[in-house]
Structure formats: structure tokens, C-alpha cells
Amino acid sequence: MAYYITIVAQTLTVAALAAALWPFVAGAREAGRAGTLLALLAGAAGGFIAVAAAVGLPRSATAIATLVHAAALVVVLSGLLLLPFAARIGRASAGWPALWRLAAGCVLIATVSTQGVFDAWRLSANHTLTATDVINTELIVNCAAIVIALAALTALGLLLARVARLAGHTASTLALAAALLLLTVAGAEKTLLGMLRIDLVPVTAGRVSLVARLSIITPWLAYGHLVIALGLAATALARRLRIPEDVAGRIERRRLRARGLGERRWRNGLAATAAFLLAVMLYQDLYASRPPRLSEAVEMVPDERGTIRIPVENVKDGNLHRFAYIASDGHRVRFFLVNRYDEAHASIGVVLDACLICGEGGYVQRGEEIFCIACNVRMYRPSIGKPGGCNPIPLDHTLADGVIVIAAGALEKGTRYFSEVVEITVADPVSGAAVKNTNAPYQYEHNGRTWFFENRDTYDRFRATPDAFVKPTPGQPGRV
């Protein structure tokens, strides 16, 4: 439910903002309402045409998206540049004909809503409204979410149009300018990325890094727009009607009080609507859309024989027991132990917390079941410890007297499956100086172990005769 509300709010808030603010800022009063409504309808129709085109021509979907974004960018940028003129003339109500100002606004509103509808479809394309054609709870809930979101945005637009008048012309113009500026930055990122993807402009490091920098703002776009709406409500609160002490007569006082009450309703309504959308979006982004988290891994340090020993007794309860080992090159190697059968028949699967296909995403336990986070496949528990499919990578180990013994060397081999690196301090094998794995100038792999060096000299000496410096450690590879 929150997913669809978030998608609609993310993509269409700006259309509500533009439709509410432009007619007031540009001084289009009566004709403004009909024009705005027509522009919104035209925008929605345009959006559906773009979606239909993208569905009909799946191979050129990226090109269509780029076209929509580029058109929107041009229109929004022109709107931003024209805004000072429209606003000043709107106030003086002379010069530029009102019809032109309104038409410019309508083009802006229609384009912004076309882009909104198209983006809403594009963002949710891999999410299905329903699993089956027969009407079901999920379908109803998802459709209700879309209706609720559209209703909230309509309410936001209507209330904002009222509150903008209370907040004043200058504040509203500034708010609209800020909203359009945010949209321009986000639009520039989307357009440039699209052009890079369809090879319209050559890919260069500079362009890619520009896109990456601009893309920081994109997820915050709708938050920015809602904060702008809240800012207008706050401005209206600061400029609220105060009944002067010297108003004579009960009738006049009551009339002013009634007006003040009405204005307070608009303000509070706007703040409540914006807060509702903000709350749903925050819930979705910070909580509901997060992937499942891995349970805490217990750090294990090998004993003097270079082995990690875990008694079967501790891990046979049927839960997933996650451990971690810091390898010689600083990689954090996660592995887990789980009982494949019941407690009476303990048979422990000892595996790395990674999959050959899905990578290091890891596995989680939900109830009795063990899932791969990356592909959501449920593991057939008795098969854990065997290679193949999406099973975790098996880890070499031995079982002695009810204790599982894992050699550190076996875990060293797992370093290539994990990318997480922890900063550790190690000794240069030649000089004995302390170096950090993350900033050591030289490193060398010998017999499955990585060594770090403080300078070129020690590095070269080690490379020439590595075995002279490596103290044979039991359990480590390279031991004789």
C-alpha cells in the first residue's frame, strides 16, 4: 500500500504544486481554474500516450523516456526563466496579456504531469498490481492506495491554492521558483543519463560523474516539494489574521474571527496533507523497502593451531548461526552453521554466507525457512552444504568429538567471495614494522595468504625469497 502511495507522491507532487501556484503567481484568476484543469487532463493523457508508446515499443522505451524527460526539462527551464516576468506582470496586471501567461502555465502544468504519469509507470513497471486477473485483496488494496494518493495530491493542490493567497505573492513566487529549480536539476540528471544510455552523447568520465552528482538530489525531489508546501503553510501562519484591538463593534469582530477560523482550516489542512504524504514516503523509504538485514555475525579468531572450533552442541538448535572471520588481507569472511535435520539428529551444514550465483548478499532465516536475500529462493534445508543451484558455498571442515573444526586456510580461500574489508594492522614480514592493510604501499600474495609491506625494499626482498620470511604457522596454508 505504502509503495504505490510513495510512487504517486514522488512523481506527481510537483504537478499539484505547479497547478496550485502558477495561476496565482501569474495573476490568472477566473480563467485559471478551467485552464489548470484542462492542462492536468491533457498532461495525464500525454502521460498515458507515452506509456502506451513505451509498452508498444519495448526496445525504444529508454529513448521514449529520454524524450519525455528532455521535453520536460526544456519546458521547466523556460518556465523558471519566464517566472520573474510572469510574476511581475501578474502583479502589475498590465503588459503581457493574461491569456499568454495562463497558456505558458498550462504548458508547464501539462508537461510536468505528463512526465509524472510516465515516471510513475516506469518506476512501478516491475511491480505488479495483482498476481491474478480474478479480483483479490491485493488488487483492491493497491488500487485503493493509488486512489488515496491521487486524492491526497488533489487536496494538496486545492489547499495550496488557498494557502498561497494567504502566504502572499512574493512567498508563492519564491516557492514556485524553488520547486522548478529542484525539478530542473533532477530533470537534467535524468535527461543526461538517458542520452548517455542511448548513445546520443558519447560517454565520458566527466559526464558520468556529473550524472552521479546530480542523482543525489533525485530521491529527495518529492520531499523537497512537500517541504516547500509546508514552508508556504508556515509563511501563512506567520502572516495570519490578527484581530486588531481597536475594531469596534461585535459584528465586525465576529466576522474577522470567522475569517481567521476559515484561514486556519486551510493552513492546517495543507500541513496535515503534506505531513501524511511525508510520513508515508518516509515509512516506505526508511523501513518498508529495506532488504532483510543479516543477523549479527559472531567474530571468530583462530586458536594457536590456526583452527576455529565450534561445538555442535551450540549450533544444533535449528537456527542459523552466523560467524565472521577477518582474513589476512582484511576481508571479512562470513560463514554460517545450521542444523540440517532436527535436534536429535544433528547434521550441521557448514557453509560460506555467499552464493556462486547471487554473490555475497547472504542468507536469512524467516521462521523455519532459510532464504537467499538476493533471489528470494527458499533453501531446501537438507541440501545446505552441497554445491549447486543457489545453495551457499560449502566450506571445508572436519568433525571431531562433537566439535566442528574449520581451518583458517579454508576461510582464507573464501576471501574472493566477499568485498567487505576491515582495517587491520599487520606486521611487515621483513622489517616487522606495523602497517595497515588499507594503505600499505605494497602487497604480495604467497601461498594463499596476503602480506603487506611498508616500502619497496622489503617488498622486493620478500618477493625474492618468500619462504625465508614466512614463519610456518600450523593450520595455515604453506605449512610444511
Binding site: T130, I140, I357, V377, K386, G389
Partner: protein, 437 residues
């Protein structure tokens, strides 16, 4: 003030309000019934599509040639083509082998009880109960119907898969047990209806089986025994496979239109995801000459029925809503005519039009909620009745029905009263307070 006026309006107008509520309740009851039936099946289908486990039926490819004319199956190869038992371990050799939890082959032979010569024939199903199938990497692997169909209920004991001394142990379906009057421990002599059996067959019932499917009218015996009776050693007709799968999504639906429709990247993703369709595809690759199809139990049964009549249900619901809205509109028009003086007074005292509308909308919402609530209860009972008479089971009314019906009822009343409350705007205080029109 608003609340007080609302209460006043209900106190003075109880009969008409009750009438409006009952009108809405009737339509709400109808909608609840139709909606509850549809959503119940829809939710079951959605759950099935999203389940983490599903079953796949593997049959010889010739069985899938559609030769059904006028409801009769004319495929001459049906039941004549067999799968070789030697190919079974290959099931555990595919990419998603760990996701195949179990499988059970099946060979069906029509038989009659020897001492009841003219009685109708029944099926003798040969399968694995819980049999050891050695695999290269797991010599102790056991599989059979106990893994594939965990919901099969047996009163008594499961028979052994390997033949021991004395008569072979079998399970007897509940329905068949009643017909033959067989209890646990009874011995049955079997005969073939036409051709004589390859060997003499006496079986001993070890348990009574309840599955809710065709096995209720059949004998279930070890596969080897049935193969010997049928003279088809090492052969069977179909395999039921139980697999751990991920929920269907857009990609798997696209793949279901044929794996050729996928781009190479999509094919890779699809092949390496444990969709039931990709597992079925890999089974077809592993065992030559077979076809593997997922079994959607709800989707192919009740789902097909509801899917076809769904639009009919909507038309009936919409008709009920329109009828109720028109009835409410007529009632509201009368109310406004009757309360013209009251409205005129409100206007004269300076009430804005929206405040008067709000009063009528408030009334409509309360009437709609009351009518809807009565309708939900009545519709719940009606749905149970329909469920028992059509499907033979009660209908599980999903919680979503309640808000949907309440919202629909409120909208019905709102539409009805908004249509007629436009007259409010045209009432002039001076005229109505004077009593002249």
C-alpha cells in the same frame, strides 16, 4: 452545532432514514455476496501464485496432444505411453536439483474386486510411499507421496514400498472403503475387468486414505506391485514433483508464453531463478520425451469459473448500486421538499451553501454506513448459503470485503443525495419562509 443539527435531523425523520438505510442494505448484501465469492477465490489464486512451494506434473509428451472432441478424450495414446523408471534420478540432476523436495511416480491400472464380479471398476494406483532412491551424492535419499503430498491423511499405517512376505500392503481411499466395506486389515483379491492380470493379486489394507481427490475412490499400492500386475516392469505414466519455488512475477509470466519470447539476458535470469516454470523447463530438458506442467489447483478449478463470470458479477453489482442510488435520490428529494422551510431559515441566518450541503452529506454518510453494516452481515449469511449450495463448502469472507462494501454503500447514498440536493441552491429563503413557491 453541526453534530446537534445532525442528531435533530435523525430524530425527526426516523422512518425515511430507516427506509433509505434498508434500500442500501439490500444492495450492499448483494454486493457482499458476489464480492465475497470472487475475492475468496482471487485471494486463494494469489496465494497459490506466490507460494514458496508448488507441484509439477510430468507426463509423456504424447499425453498432451489435445484430442478432446465433445468432451470425450480421443487421444489414442493416452495411457499407452510410459516414462522409464531409470530416468527418475535425473530429476535430481538439474540446475535447481536442491529445490526439488520430492517426487512420486504414478501408474494407474483399472481393476475390480474379484469377489464382486459386476461391481464398477476402480483404479489401482502404484506409487512410492517413502522409498529410497539412491542418488550419486546422497545414497540415502528418500522420496514418495509422503513428501509430495504432506496433506494426505491416513487412518492406520502407511504400507511398505518393498514387497515382504504375504499379501502386499495398500491404502484404500475412504469412498472406496465404504463401497467395498473394507476396514484396516481386510484382504482383497483383485481382478482385471477385461484382460487377465499378469499375476494373482491379493492385497491387505493397512490404512484408509483421505485426500479430497481421485485417490478417495482408489487403491494406492507400491509401484513395483502394480507394474508387475500391469506387465509393465520399470514403467509408469506420470510423476508428481514437489518443488520449492519463488513467486511468479512479470518475467515468469512472459516466459510462460514461451521461452523463445525472452531476450538472452531475460532467459538467463529466468533460467537461474527458481520459478516453477523454469524448474518445469529444466525437467523437460533432463528427461527426454516428457512434458512438465505446474499444477495450479485453484487457478484451474474455481478460478476458471470465477474468472469467466467476473464481469457478470460486476454488472449485477453496478445495477444494484444504481437502483439503490435512485431510490435514495427519490427519498432525498422528498426530504428537501419537506424541510424547505428549515433550509430557508438556515440560509436566512447566514449559513453558506456548503454548510447546508455538509448537513446532507453527513446524513448520507451515516445512512450509508448503517445500511452497509446491515448489508455486510446479511451478505455474509447469503454468501455462506451460496457457497454451500454451489461449491459445497463455506465461503471464507475476506476482511477487505467490509471496507469495500461500506465505502460502496456510502458512495451510493452520496450519489443519490447529491443528485437531488442541487435543489438546495435554488431555494430562496423569502419564498420558502412565506410558504409560496
Amino acid at each position: 452545532m453541526f453534530v446537534r443539527m445532525l442528531r435533530q435531523s435523525f430524530a425527526g425523520n426516523r422512518k425515511r432514514k430507516a427506509l433509505a438505510a434498508i434500500t442500501v442494505a439490500l444492495s450492499a448484501a448483494l454486493i457482499t455476496t458476489l464480492f465475497a465469492l470472487s475475492v475468496d477465490v482471487g485471494d486463494k489464486m494469489a496465494t497459490e501464485m506466490k507460494a514458496y512451494g508448488s507441484n509439477i506434473r510430468v507426463t509423456p509428451r504424447s499425453e498432451n496432444m489435445p484430442l478432446i472432441i465433445g468432451g470425450r478424450d480421443f487421444n489414442p495414446l493416452r495411457g499407452r505411453d510410459f516414462i522409464d523408471e531409470a530416468g527418475l534420478p535425473k530429476l535430481k540432476d538439474i540446475f535447481w536439483r536442491h529445490n526439488i523436495v520430492g517426487f512420486a511416480p504414478r501408474l494407474t491400472l483399472p481393476v475390480v474386486a474379484a469377489d464382486q464380479g459386476s461391481a464398477p471398476e476402480f483404479s489401482l494406483i502404484g506409487t512410492y510411499f517413502d522409498r529410497n532412491v539412491p542418488l550419486p551424492d546422497d545414497p540415502g535419499y528418500r522420496t514418495g507421496v509422503r513428501t509430495v503430498n504432506p496433506f494426505w491423511h491416513v487412518a492406520g499405517a502407511w504400507p511398505a514400498d518393498e514387497a515382504g512376505d504375504g499379501p502386499v500392503g495398500v491404502l484404500i481411499g475412504g469412498g472406496l472403503a465404504q463401497r467395498l466395506g473394507a476396514a484396516v486389515g481386510a484382504e482383497l483379491a483383485l481382478a482385471a475387468p477385461e484382460t487377465p492380470l499378469a499375476t494373482a493379486a491379493v492385497v491387505r489394507v493397512t490404512g484408509i486414505l483421505t485426500t479430497g481427490d481421485i485417490e478417495d475412490q482408489a487403491l494406492v499400492a507400491p509401484l513395483g506391485f502394480v507394474q508387475k500386475l500391469a506387465g509393465q516392469p520399470g514403467k509408469f505414466q506420470s510423476i508428481d514433483v514437489s518443488a520449492l519455488t519463488v513467486a511468479e512475477n512479470d518475467l515468469s509470466r512472459k516466459a510462460s508464453r514461451g521461452a523463445e519470447a525472452l531476450t538472452p539476458e531475460e532467459y538467463d535470469v529466468w533460467y537461474c531463478t527458481a520459478y516453477v516454470s523454469s524448474i518445469a523447463h529444466q525437467i523437460e530438458e533432463a528427461i527426454p520425451g516428457v512434458s512438465a506442467r505446474p499444477i495450479w489447483q485453484v487457478a484451474s478449478g474455481e478460478g476458471a469459473v470465477i474468472g469467466r463470470i467476473q464481469s457478470l458479477l460486476f454488472v449485477v453489482s453496478v445495477a444494484a448500486i444504481i437502483a439503490a442510488a435512485m431510490a435514495v435520490a427519490a427519498l432525498t428529494t422528498t426530504t428537501i421538499a419537506e424541510r424547505a422551510a428549515e433550509i430557508g431559515l438556515m440560509k436566512a441566518l447566514g449559513a453558506a451553501p456548503w454548510q447546508i450541503y455538509l448537513l446532507f452529506i453527513g446524513e448520507a454518510v451515516i445512512v450509508g454506513l448503517a445500511g452497509g453494516a446491515i448489508g455486510v452481515v446479511a451478505g455474509y449469511l447469503m454468501a455462506q448459503g451460496v457457497g454451500w449450495s454451489v461449491f459445497g463448502t463455506g465461503v471464507d469472507v475476506r476482511p477487505i470485503t467490509v471496507p469495500v462494501v461500506l465505502v460502496t454503500s456510502v458512495i451510493t447514498v452520496l450519489v443519490g443525495s447529491i443528485v437531488s440536493s442541487r435543489e438546495i441552491a435554488s431555494l430562496l429563503p423569502a419564498e420558502v419562509l412565506h410558504g409560496r413557491q
